[in-house]
């Protein structure tokens, strides 16, 4: 938007990717505004066909509406681009469906304060697990976690969390190139570590989704796992002309 002045009020931008989330979004925005009135919020409506964009605008937050559905990765990258363009120093990815607690944004920010570039809010970090998954999904997540952990030589309990915080230099990278396909969070974790960024995990609690369904069928999930395995394979140091010397 040339000519308009930057709407930035805080140093941190909360990015909420939303696809047809009219049912949950208003209460999520409401709680966010109550708990953290100090933070700027951007809703990226990912080609929503319902009132997601209008409701977000009514709530008084910044809204970007994509003309068609790009998927979570594309929506997030739009948010990162916006953050960089408007000079935000940090960004927090936050779910539209109310499964994240805005009080815990402070934990993620604490990780950034300690020097991390990417802070992941893990759903399995400590004893206070409120998140339950089926056996198949748990098994698949375990394989994925093992692959990622052995690839990056660091232990993560939750590689697919959608509750994360990014610092300025990582925002620069992800505004240019963020994984656009499904399971973007896992792939972006590997990319961040490969590029030499510090990634830490903090335990967070997850709440039951206030609306909407977990969005995957099994066949698709298998395909995406295969694809992700190939993607992870491409990130093994073998194929890279590495610019850094491994420690």
């Amino acid at each position: 938007m040339p000519g308009t002045r930057s709407p930035r009020r805080s140093a941190t931008l909360v990015i909420i990717p939303a696809y047809d989330e009219e049912a949950a979004l208003p209460s999520t925005l409401d709680e966010l505004a109550t708990v953290r009135p100090d933070l700027d919020v951007l809703v990226v409506s990912d080609g929503s066909r319902d009132k997601t964009g209008a409701l977000a605008r009514a709530a008084g937050v910044a809204v970007v509406e994509l003309p068609f559905n790009l998927g979570i990765g594309g929506a997030l990258q739009t948010g990162f681009r916006y953050a960089v363009r408007h000079g935000y120093e940090r960004a927090v990815q936050f779910d539209a469906d109310g499964q994240h607690d805005p009080r815990e944004i402070a934990q993620l920010e604490g990780g950034l304060d300690d020097g991390a570039a990417l802070v992941i809010g893990s759903r399995f970090g400590d004893g206070t697990v409120e998140y339950r998954v089926g056996p198949a999904r748990r098994g698949a997540m375990a394989v994925l976690r093992w692959s990622v952990n052995s690839l990056v030589h660091q232990k993560f309990t939750d590689t697919s969390s959608g509750f994360r915080a990014f610092n300025a230099s990582l925002l620069q990278l992800f505004a240019r190139s963020y994984p656009v396909e499904f399971m973007d969070s896992t792939e972006s974790l590997v990319i961040a570590i490969n590029e030499g960024f510090t990634v830490v995990e903090v335990p967070t609690r997850i709440r039951a989704r206030s609306a909407g369904q977990p969005s995957n069928r099994h066949v698709r999930l298998v395909y995406h796992y295969l694809r992700l395995m190939v993607v992870l394979l491409s990130h093994t140091p073998m194929w890279r002309r590495s610019r850094r010397t491994p420690t």
Binding site: G3, P67, F68, S177, E181, Y223, L226, R227, L228, V230, V231, L233, S234, H235, W239, R240
Partner: protein, 129 residues
């Protein structure tokens, strides 16, 4: 892959320079694909597609009897014919898939052009008024 193979005394294992050539090509191709993927010049789904083709070629090169026995079972007299049939059918499928993708891309480009035109119109009106 293919962990349990029945005993095949005649053609188990790699036989002949052609098979070695196939394996070399597949391995080099796989490395090339992975490099492209890493440099973000190729999407994960296409890498997976062509890696799958490579895997099939690799299996057929390692166990040539597999093709022969399948051909016999399907009453195809010359096993290369089966290979060509499958290859042509697969490539046709890929073509249809690409046409679908292309249509989707054209649609999206059109929507982008429309959106841009509307935005530009509104912006010009703002600047004048």
């Amino acid at each position: 892959m293919l962990a349990a193979t029945e005993p095949q005394p005649t053609s188990l294992g790699i036989s002949g320079p052609a098979h070695v050539a196939v394996i070399c090509v597949v391995v080099i191709g796989a490395v090339f694909l992975l490099r492209l993927l890493r440099k973000r010049q190729l999407r994960g789904k296409y890498t997976l597609l062509w890696m799958f083709v490579g895997a099939v070629a690799l299996i057929l090169a390692a166990f040539p009897s597999l093709l022969d026995r399948t051909a016999r079972r399907l009453h195809i007299y010359s096993s290369p014919n089966l290979l060509f049939l499958l290859a042509i059918a697969f490539l046709l499928l890929v073509c249809v898939y690409f046409s679908w993708e292309l249509s989707r891309l054209e649609e999206r480009t059109r929507v982008l052009a429309e959106e841009l035109a509307i935005q530009r119109g509104e912006q010009e009106k703002e600047e004048i008024g």
